[in-house]
């Protein structure tokens, strides 16, 4: 039996045990509540957090789409470049690894250490490979592979890299690729790309970047808390970019650039199918080596390209603006015929010039009585002054526009500038002055307020060749998005139509034929049986009076143009050759001839012609066309007044 005191004790003890029991229940209930809040109420938040902890993706670069020429020949493809990386998670002694790797690749240790230190400083995770050698040389790759056992932390990765043809061929067609720039990062076009992504930065690579880039894949890995890769979680393979068939013909392209090189000119040229606007060959020289960009161009090389006074980064064909000179007489002729201001039989007597609006305008020499055909053949200024005096500037502007010489041609290359032909509206807007009829006289022979790109002149001559349809020059023929075969790209719709009677058109064509096959300035482009027709033009770099003063500082030789099509009555090819500082349009003609011979040889299944020896001789001095304007124009791009848009 318990004593009363003991019983009292017992009760007190029981009470206090009860207190402990209740305390325990309350504590556990509170814990359960706490876990319920974390695990059920806030589950989503913590689940995302946990996933972020252990899931990592490593991007796999997609090969860009392969570019073919119109005959299926590969122009631009991808090769595997080799990249040497170091995986920090695999090494216990980083310094030793750096020393061994530096020895293997033949670099100073500091150069190997630098990217690793940057990676450590940026707290990059150890499983992420640190890029040590980008575009490693074969000896470096061989050396690292031979030391595989000594260098367990080093890997050689293959990265698809653009491979362009040798000798900078068609560099301004392809453009180049490079790492996405900071100012491009925010744009919707580049949505989803990470810094360091490779995108097209010029040419077709830029214009069709969306199609060519493909889709990068990713390798998902599970990593642990120190960033060590635990296991792969599967991989999304990269999707190769769209394959594209360009309108370019490799052999013509090669002939064109070989021709330029042999003649020793810089400049630009385009050869088109005049009925479709397909560009068979396109160049702008000097050019750059797109391969240098593909492998990551270094600072000095880039500075050299940018600082080069010859401006190799500029595509003169679409970014250079020049006074077309006598080439513009074609426009004046068509405007005169189209408005019935003249007929093909209209005749002018040339006595070495003529007086219009009280001012004397010079011709090269006295041509005597010439009709339209002979005026074109002889490039008689007096004839076209007279036609110009019968037309208003706005009529000439209107026809120039229908022939593609106003605004952009719409070629599928980035950075095209507007071509310009003056108008009364423009003069009023820009100078708050009326257009003076005397100014029309200069314009009628391609001087004064005329400033056009070579590609615009190419569309103009194509329009003459195809009978009046202004086509859009373009570079892509067919696309193959998924390896299921070529899907033709529809021809862009014509932009304008010039209404011209067959008789009038034939007169112009006859004149152009005579330029090459008669006694005109285009004789060097003559091909037996092919009826090459064309027109030369000369763009002044500086005025006659300024030439002497400027000669010491810059190349003051004039630019030469040659626009052409062939054959005369069934044109299959048209285009322009622009010889920078070529002195005269006739010096551009031999280059055109060589490419045209290549075109016809290929078409008729004959062997391709060899590079003619004649091209290698220095350009002969041709009779200089008369000079009217006294204003000083800058050479290269941007000569002459430019309209504002």
């Amino acid at each position: 039996m318990l004593t009363s005191s003991a019983a009292e004790h017992r009760r007190g003890f029981e009470t206090r045990i009860g207190v402990l029991r209740i305390g325990a229940i309350l504590c556990f209930a509170a814990l359960a509540l706490g876990f319920w809040i974390l695990q059920v109420v806030q589950h989503t938040k913590y689940e995302a957090w946990a996933d972020k902890n252990y899931l990592r993706t490593i991007p796999l670069r997609a090969p860009r789409g392969v570019l073919f020429d119109r005959n299926g020949r590969v122009l631009v493809e991808n090769r595997d470049a080799y990249t040497i990386v170091l995986l920090r998670e695999r090494t216990a002694n980083l310094n030793q690894a750096i020393a061994r790797l530096a020895e293997a690749v033949g670099w100073p240790e500091d150069r190997v250490r630098e990217p690793i230190q940057i990676a450590i400083k940026n707290k990059e995770q150890a499983f992420r490979p640190v890029l040590i050698v980008d575009h490693a040389t074969m000896p470096q790759v061989a050396a690292v592979r031979a030391r595989k056992l000594e260098l367990p932390e080093v890997e050689v990765l293959q990265v698809p890299t653009r491979q362009y043809p040798d000798e900078n061929l068609a560099a301004h067609v392809f453009g180049y690729v490079g790492q996405i720039r900071d100012d491009q990062m925010g744009k919707t076009e580049y949505a989803g790309l990470e810094p360091g992504a490779i995108v097209g930065q010029a040419g077709v690579e830029r214009e069709y970047n969306g199609e060519l880039k493909g889709e990068d894949g990713r390798s998902n890995v599970v990593v642990n808390s120190v960033g060590r890769q635990i296991q792969p979680l599967g991989q999304e393979d990269p999707r190769e970019g769209e394959r594209m068939q360009l309108t370019i013909d490799y052999d013509m392209q090669k002939a064109l650039e070989d021709g330029f090189r042999a003649a020793g000119f810089n400049g630009a040229a385009a050869f088109l199918d005049p009925t479709t606007g397909e560009i068979l060959a396109l160049t702008s020289l000097p050019a750059y080596d797109p391969n240098a960009f593909a492998t990551g161009i270094d600072r000095t090389a880039w500075a050299g390209l940018i600082g080069d006074p010859l401006n190799p980064m500029s595509n003169r064909l679409i970014q250079g603006r020049y006074a077309p000179g006598s080439v513009f007489k074609i426009v004046t002729a068509i405007a005169g015929l189209g408005t019935h201001a003249i007929t093909p039989d209209f005749k002018v007597s040339c006595n070495g010039g003529g007086t219009f609006y009280g001012r004397f305008f010079q011709c090269l020499r006295s041509h005597g009585v010439v009709d339209l055909r002979h005026a074109i053949e002889q490039s008689c200024n007096t004839f076209f002054y007279t036609v110009g005096s019968k037309l208003s500037i706005d009529t000439i502007h209107e026809y120039a526009k229908k022939l593609g010489l106003v605004g952009k041609t719409g070629i599928d290359l980035p950075g095209e500038v507007d071509s310009f032909v003056g108008s009364s509206e423009w003069k009023q807007r820009e100078f708050r002055q009326p257009w003076y009829p005397g100014e029309t006289i200069s314009v009628s022979i391609g001087q004064g307020a005329v400033s056009v790109t070579p590609i615009a002149l190419a569309t103009m001559i194509s329009t003459v060749a195809n009978g009046g349809t202004l086509v859009t020059p373009h570079l892509v023929r067919a696309r193959d998005a998924d390896g299921t075969g070529w899907k033709p790209v529809p021809m862009p719709a014509p932009r304008a139509k010039v209404e011209l009677s067959q008789e009038d058109l034939q007169a112009v064509r006859d004149g152009l034929w005579m330029v090459v096959n008669g006694s005109g300035t285009g004789g060097k482009a003559r091909i037996e049986g092919k009826d090459v027709s064309g027109k030369t033009g000369t763009a002044q770099v500086v005025s006659l009076t300024g030439a002497k003063a400027a000669a010491a500082r810059m190349d003051v030789r004039d630019h030469g143009f040659f626009v052409f099509f062939a054959p005369r009555d069934n044109p299959q090819v048209a285009g322009i050759v622009f010889a920078e500082h070529g002195m005269h349009g006739s010096s551009a003609a031999p280059i055109a001839k060589y490419v045209l011979e290549t075109f016809f040889a290929k078409k008729e299944g004959r062997p391709l012609p060899p590079l003619p020896a004649a091209l290698k001789t220095a350009p002969a001095a041709e009779p200089r066309e008369p000079v009217i304007s006294t204003e000083v124009r800058r050479g290269g791009r941007g000569g002459g007044p430019v309209p504002e848009r």
């Binding site: 319920w36 589950h43 689940e47 957090w49």
Partner: protein, 367 residues
């Protein structure tokens, strides 16, 4: 003496089953979190824990077999041995993870501090339960405080703040049921509050201070000291209602949660087994506590009752603290979860403690 058969008839099998169940849950969680995917087998911690289990069960059986009164009467000897061992490790012990806690005897190493709770429970149960009227006077309390103070300081200096703190509830629990006046508890609480700035400034080490400050604001240092706390929350929260599944957790297995098999074993359980697994385990712990309180109520003498309360107070405090910490709701301390966390010494001493509790209940009708 009573025959063995009659004694075993009074053995609390449900309590034993609950204890063993928690041990197995712990073992399974350690198996899961230490699983090595490359080698396709669990880590060495699992095997160590597996070997510790039978040793612990033997210890439990031994503690059960020996009459607790015999042990209580010799408790001062154990107390002296404990103090001696603690002094020994503070001079000669092995250092691991910055603390000198381990004592190596032939092949085995163990932490004497883990056995501090049982020893203190025995000593204090004897002090207040035998021949005295409980803890009613200041003198009674002072004796207990001195007895507690010596090992407490020794463990604290190892330094092992967590383990040293677990000795306090042993004393408080026994004094509470021994009739300590409520106002003293209030006074003690006030003194603790008033002393805390002094403790903060002069007693606590920098790393301990860091843990408290980062607990108050984990985001202040999310990659450093606050990391464990944040990652513990992420582990628990990402588990959801049903969990990610056995061996499917990422937080613990991939090392985002440090010492996942040890201090944060409950976080791993929460991650892999979800809220359901948490509830089951919490219920088991509560059940174990409940049956232990039953044992205290049923004890035939005050020594037995106080012994049970002392052991279960230390146990209960550590369970509550560790689980709270596992959810990132308390500052991170090196406190393991009894029965579940990795740690041989802890498992063996805890099972031995439950051996004593079972023994008290079993012997309730003996004289």
């Amino acid at each position: 003496m009573i025959g063995e058969r009659r004694l075993t008839a009074h053995l609390d099998w449900p309590l034993m089953a609950g204890v063993v169940a928690l041990t197995l849950i712990g073992l399974a969680t350690i198996y899961s979190v230490t699983w090595d995917y490359r080698l396709g087998r669990p880590g060495p911690q699992f095997w160590t824990q597996l070997y510790a289990l039978p040793i612990g069960l033997v210890a439990m059986a031994v503690a059960l077999t020996i009459d607790y009164r015999t042990l209580a009467q010799r408790s001062l000897i154990f107390y002296a041995l404990l103090v001696a061992a603690l002094i020994y490790v503070s001079i000669n012990g092995d250092s691991r993870m910055g603390a000198q806690r381990w004592m190596t005897i032939s092949k085995f190493s163990f932490q004497p501090s883990e056995f501090g709770r049982i020893t203190m429970a025995l000593v204090l149960a004897m002090t207040y339960g035998e021949g005295r009227r409980g803890a009613r006077t200041i003198g009674d309390v002072a004796i207990g405080a001195i007895l507690l103070g010596v090992p407490l300081m020794l463990i604290f200096l190892q330094p092992d703040f967590g383990t040293s703190v677990t000795l306090v509830p042993v004393m408080l629990g026994i004094m509470f049921v021994a009739g300590m006046r409520m106002k003293w508890i209030v006074v003690a609480g006030l003194v603790a509050v008033l002393l805390s700035p002094i403790v903060w400034m002069y007693v606590m080490q920098d790393y301990q201070k860091d843990r408290v400050t980062t607990f108050l604001d984990p985001s202040r240092d999310p990659k450093g000291k606050g990391l464990q706390q944040i990652q513990a929350k992420v582990a628990v929260g990402s588990g959801g209602l049903l969990g990610k599944g056995f061996r499917q957790g990422s937080q613990g297995a991939l090392g985002f949660l440090p010492v996942a098999h040890n201090d944060f074993v409950f976080s791993v359980l929460a991650e892999e087994q979800g809220f359901v697994g948490v509830l089951v385990t919490l219920a088991l712990y509560l059940f174990v506590l409940w049956r232990s309180f039953d044992a205290a109520s049923l004890a035939k003498d005050r020594v037995g009752a106080f012994l049970v309360v002392g052991i279960i107070s230390g146990f209960g405090f550590q369970v509550l603290y560790n689980i709270t910490m596992s959810a990132g709701l308390a500052p991170v301390k090196g406190l393991t979860l009894p029965l579940m966390s990795y740690g041989g010494s802890s498992l063996v001493s805890t099972l031995a403690g439950f051996g004593l509790i079972l023994g008290v209940r079993m012997r309730r009708f003996t004289n």
